[in-house]
């Protein structure tokens, strides 16, 4: 070769690539084995209440089972979210109803779905493990799907008009429009919401893998039940082992899935110029440079893309008539289905509620007030420390370099997994669950506020901060005229997310199986959990309705006006 240097550099790249190919092959083999093992287990005879070992040696298998559940639930969520968002955005007739339904479903806590989902799935596959597993998977699904569907819907609605027209005037087929315009446009939103959703999935894993339903005991092998079993037995070493395994899995997924996904989704940004800051992922880089993935892309992805985006040959003819019928048929069918189902279910629900003693109704309202107070308190406490800390981190680049990755790891640990540890401490200190549950809620919600405040503080232009120092603002003046207005829109976003998280957390925080006993306190979350445990569907229905109404009302009356204010007055752009 005339250019030895060139030869050497090629060699290095080759050997790198072979290593990657081997890794990819190994991963594929492992994947095939995993699928076979899973299928064998799912098709096996049903054991609703598996024996949960507390030995650390069982953890890899448990982690695997949990991971499979999460993965299947996530794929289901993704498919459902895309389909739901697509239909809602493209059919004006059903759009309003579908979005209202989504709004309400989003405010219903996971556990309220439990009895109906579980019974339905077990009835579908009474003799196979599949039924119980599907129940757990659908539960995880109900915890993560709604915000993804919302995100995809609003992405589709915000596609710039001229891009839509470009697709229309060039007569894209529905599939070409979907894969070349709509899906790419929604990808970034989907990726970020997927991350949030899956984090939510880990949060509720304990509740979704092990629960009592009336006199049925459900226990599925997995990380969640391991943690729950360990905490019931007060086994501190077990809790720590379980926690370590869970954090390891979460960090691994973050590196292997989410970072590459974020880096990859960068190409779907709508920006017109290239941005300087870019997320990098060595894993994605490796994957892109491996022969296997190149082969897959050339043999599978490209032909499939070609098939999807290319229309059958067509002769230029007279202009086609506007197609309207299909959407109308779908709409009419859906409306008919709703017209039958809604009154039927309403009557059923009314009959169920009629027998409810007024004392219980009163107790529910009392519980709602207690939970409401707790949610507000946890938001308040979280704001008290997260706002100053977030501003300090956001204003100081050196501090943020250190603090941000740490905080991200801390935030990725599902708060539920920490509950047993915190509870142990609480019990030792002699505190009750009434106050303790506020701390438990705090564990899950403070991060949303912190991260948003950091982002807000970083977005305040340096000139404004310099102006504040030049004019010698006092500390109070700085906060009032610069910092608080500057971070306001971000703070509102953080508070909204945190309040949603706090309501959901109330279910696991106010009612806890611990050291063989059930600890609970007055609260709506506790009531929902208890109603599920005892199979009291009346009480479950009432508490769910109350909670959903509370959440929806707070959204309408508090958060939406604040959002509007943030969007109109406290904007730093334009």
């Amino acid at each position: 070769m005339a250019f030895p240097q060139l030869g050497r550099s090629l060699m290095r790249e080759r050997s790198w690539s072979v290593l990657v190919d081997l890794l990819v092959f190994a991963a594929i083999l492992a994947g095939i084995y995993a699928v076979l093992a899973t299928v064998k287990y799912w098709m096996g005879v049903v054991t609703p209440a598996a024996h949960i070992s507390r030995s650390p040696a069982a953890l890899p298998a448990y982690a695997f089972y949990s991971l499979v559940r999460m993965a299947v639930a996530y794929v289901l969520s993704l498919v459902f979210a895309v389909a739901y968002g697509y239909i809602a955005a493209n059919n004006r007739r059903v759009e309003m109803v579908m979005i209202a339904v989504l709004d309400i479903l989003q405010s219903i806590p996971v556990l309220s779905f439990l009895p109906s989902v579980m019974l339905a799935m077990v009835a579908l596959f009474p003799t196979r493990q599949l039924g119980v597993e599907l129940g757990s998977i659908v539960l995880i699904f109900t915890g993560q799907v709604w915000n993804m569907a919302f995100s995809f819907y609003s992405s589709l609605k915000s596609i710039p008009r001229e891009l839509r027209e470009a697709a229309l005037i060039n007569r894209f087929s529905a599939t070409q429009r979907f894969v070349e315009l709509e899906l790419p446009f929604g990808t970034i939103g989907l990726v970020w919401n997927s991350i949030v959703s899956v984090a939510g999935g880990w949060f509720f894993l304990m509740a979704c893998e092990m629960f009592v339903l009336g006199n049925h005991d459900f226990r599925l092998p997995g990380l969640g039940s391991y943690l729950q079993t360990a905490s019931s037995a007060g086994d501190t070493a077990g809790i720590l082992w379980g926690l370590t395994a869970m954090i390891a899995v979460i960090v691994l997924i973050d590196q292997l899935v989410w970072r590459p996904a974020i880096a990859w989704s960068d190409k779907f940004k709508m920006e017109q110029v290239e941005s300087a800051a870019e997320v990098t992922s060595p894993i994605l880089h490796l994957l892109r440079n491996s022969d296997v993935s190149r082969w897959v892309e050339k043999r599978a992805v490209e032909p499939l893309w070609e098939r999807l985006t290319t229309s059958p040959p067509r002769v230029v003819s007279a202009p086609a008539a506007r197609k309207k019928n299909r959407g109308r048929v779908v709409g009419v069918v859906l409306l008919l289905a709703l017209a039958v189902a809604v009154p039927y279910l309403l009557v059923k629900a009314a009959l169920l509620l009629k027998g409810l003693p007024s004392a219980e109704l009163l107790a529910t309202l009392e519980a709602a007030a207690a939970s409401f107070g707790r949610v507000a308190a946890s938001l308040g406490i979280a704001s008290l420390w997260a706002i100053p800390a977030g501003v300090a981190i956001g204003f100081n680049p050196r501090l943020s370099k250190v603090a941000q990755p740490l905080a991200q790891i801390a935030a990725s640990v599902p708060a539920t997994a920490l509950f047993p540890v915190v509870l142990l401490g609480l019990v030792r200190l002699g505190g009750g669950l009434g106050v303790g549950s506020i701390i438990l809620m705090l564990l899950g919600t403070q991060w949303y506020i912190l991260f948003n405040v950091i982002a807000g503080a970083m977005a305040i232009p340096t000139e404004l901060r310099e102006a504040a120092s030049v004019f010698r603002f006092t500390r109070w003046q700085r906060w009032r005229t610069l910092i608080l207005p500057g971070i306001f829109p971000y703070l509102v976003t953080g508070l909204v997310t945190a309040s949603g998280g706090a309501w959901n957390a109330s279910i696991v925080a106010e009612y806890f199986h611990f050291q063989g006993k059930t600890m609970s306190t007055l609260g709506l979350g506790a009531q929902i959990s208890a109603a599920t445990d005892s199979g009291n569907s009346q009480l479950l229905l009432v508490s769910t309705i109350v909670m959903a109404m509370l959440v929806v009302c707070v959204n309408r009356l508090v958060w939406r006006p604040l959002y509007r204010l943030a969007g109109s007055r406290y904007r730093l752009d334009s």
Binding site: E165, A166, L168, I169, N170, S173, E180
Partner: protein
């Protein structure tokens, strides 16, 4: 290019309304317009005259509310089969490479892969993008992006090429360059396109490119004039006929009541159908802009051509027209024959200090119906505060939602300057401005 040729696209009494049926707003009055083979047709008009709406109806993107669009005599009911659009914002798919962007319309037409690639590469070559096939749009400059836009539009060999302000997002030199390249393709018959329809708000651009210019008026949109530009291309911007055409369009645009004199060669239907009683609009100009225009006029002995002013300021007509309209509405200038002439009031205003200007403006603003109405309403209420929704409802019978917002926005701007009224901190109420009362000696001292 004979006027007797069959039109490719013909619009018959097309009208467009927006909003719900009971409170609909007419954007375009019943209009006839035809696109003939062999011509470049430029559509001009102030903002809000329905230029883009017209383009979308002719291309089949949007159906007219009433009337019919015929394509070779056949009624159109969807995007026309053989047209393309070049968009103002380029509308490229950022996640597709340049080549994929250009291939996308061919895919939609089911062109086989190798053929598709060949055609796309050929067209990219002809617009000067050779070597950029694998680049992503965000890696290109604005001018290059619009070249991709042209390539994507031309690759399907459209019979009619529509362009929606294709050069207005580009800098002056790039736009000039692209325009002449387009003309080169067109005049050299290097593209099979039979007609070009361009929407623009740049008068010189229209006269540079077009064989025929149609000027729309607003409230609701209607054809003001429709005439041929029979000069050989390339056209010299200093040529007397060129300047004459530009000046003529300026005159038409600046004098909404003028009935254009030259005979259009294709008969253009005068705006049919009595529009609803018009509510006078507040032109969207800032008091500072009005003052600037008046000062400039004073420097030029009180009178100058509007075209000349726009040229010196490097303003597009869309930016200058509202200022001219506002100044004339306030009685500060007279517009005559495309010239703006300052009035004694205008001169007084231009030469006054800031506080005196506010006083003069307060008096002059009384001529503006919306300002007058807000003022009266505030004065007559006991608590001197009026919900913004009240004025909103008043206006939205006459304007679109968006325009209503803009009207109120501009009114508040003027009200603030005149220290007449303002919105309160919530933005939901109008309140009178706390004016320093002339009781003190404060005003007299200035």
């Amino acid at each position: 290019m004979t006027p007797t040729a069959e039109p490719i696209i013909q619009a018959r009494a097309i009208e467009k309304f927006y909003g719900p049926p009971e409170a609909r707003i007419q954007v375009l009055a019943a209009t006839d317009l035809a696109v003939y083979p062999g011509e470049i047709l430029a559509l001009l008009g102030p903002s809000g005259s329905g230029k883009s709406t017209m383009l979308r109806m002719l291309s089949g993107l949007a159906p007219p509310s009433s009337g019919q669009v015929l394509w070779h005599g056949q009624p159109v009911a969807g995007p026309c089969e053989n047209v393309s659009i070049v968009f103002q914002s380029f509308a490229l798919f950022p996640w597709l490479t340049v080549l994929d962007n250009v291939e996308a319309p061919l895919k939609a037409r089911g062109v086989a892969r190798t053929e598709r690639m060949k055609r796309a590469l050929r067209i990219l070559d002809s617009v000067g993008l050779d070597g950029f096939e694998q680049a992503y749009p965000k890696e290109l400059s604005g001018g290059m992006k619009q070249r991709v836009g042209f390539a994507r539009a031309l690759v399907v060999e459209p019979e009619v090429l529509f362009m929606d302000e294709p050069f207005s997002a580009l800098d002056v030199l790039t736009a000039e360059n692209l325009r002449s390249e387009l003309l080169e393709l067109w005049d050299g018959k290097k593209m099979p396109t039979r007609a070009v329809f361009i929407v623009t708000h740049n008068i010189e651009e229209a006269v540079t490119l077009a064989d025929r210019v149609v000027v729309l008026g607003k409230n609701p949109g209607h054809v003001r004039t429709d005439f041929r530009v029979a000069m050989p291309r390339p056209r010299d911007h200093q040529d007397p006929p060129f300047l004459e055409a530009v000046n003529y369009i300026y005159r038409v645009l600046t004098q909404p009541d003028l009935v254009p004199t030259p005979q259009p060669e294709h008969e253009a239907a005068p705006a049919a159908g009595a529009a609803r009683a018009k509510y006078p609009m507040v032109p969207h100009a800032r008091p500072g802009g009005i003052a600037g225009l008046l000062e400039l006029l004073v420097d030029r002995e009180g009178r100058d051509g509007i075209h000349h002013l726009a040229d010196d300021l490097a303003f597009e007509i869309d930016d200058l027209l509202p200022i001219v309209e506002a100044a004339s509405l306030l009685g500060y200038i007279h517009v005559k024959e495309g010239d703006a002439e300052i009035t004694p009031e205008g001169k007084r205003f231009a030469e006054a200090g800031i506080l005196r200007r506010k006083e003069l403006f307060r008096v002059a603003a009384e001529r503006v119906p919306l300002i007058r109405q807000i003022n009266r309403a505030l004065a007559s209420k006991a608590d001197h505060s009026m919900p913004a929704d009240f004025f909103h409802d008043l206006l939205d019978e006459h304007f679109s939602e968006e325009e209503t917002e803009r009207q109120l926005e501009t009114a508040v701007n003027w009200g603030r300057y005149a220290e007449l009224f303002d919105r309160d901190s919530s933005g939901r109420f109008f309140i009178p401005e706390e004016t320093p009362q002339p009781a003190g000696d404060e005003v007299g001292s200035h």
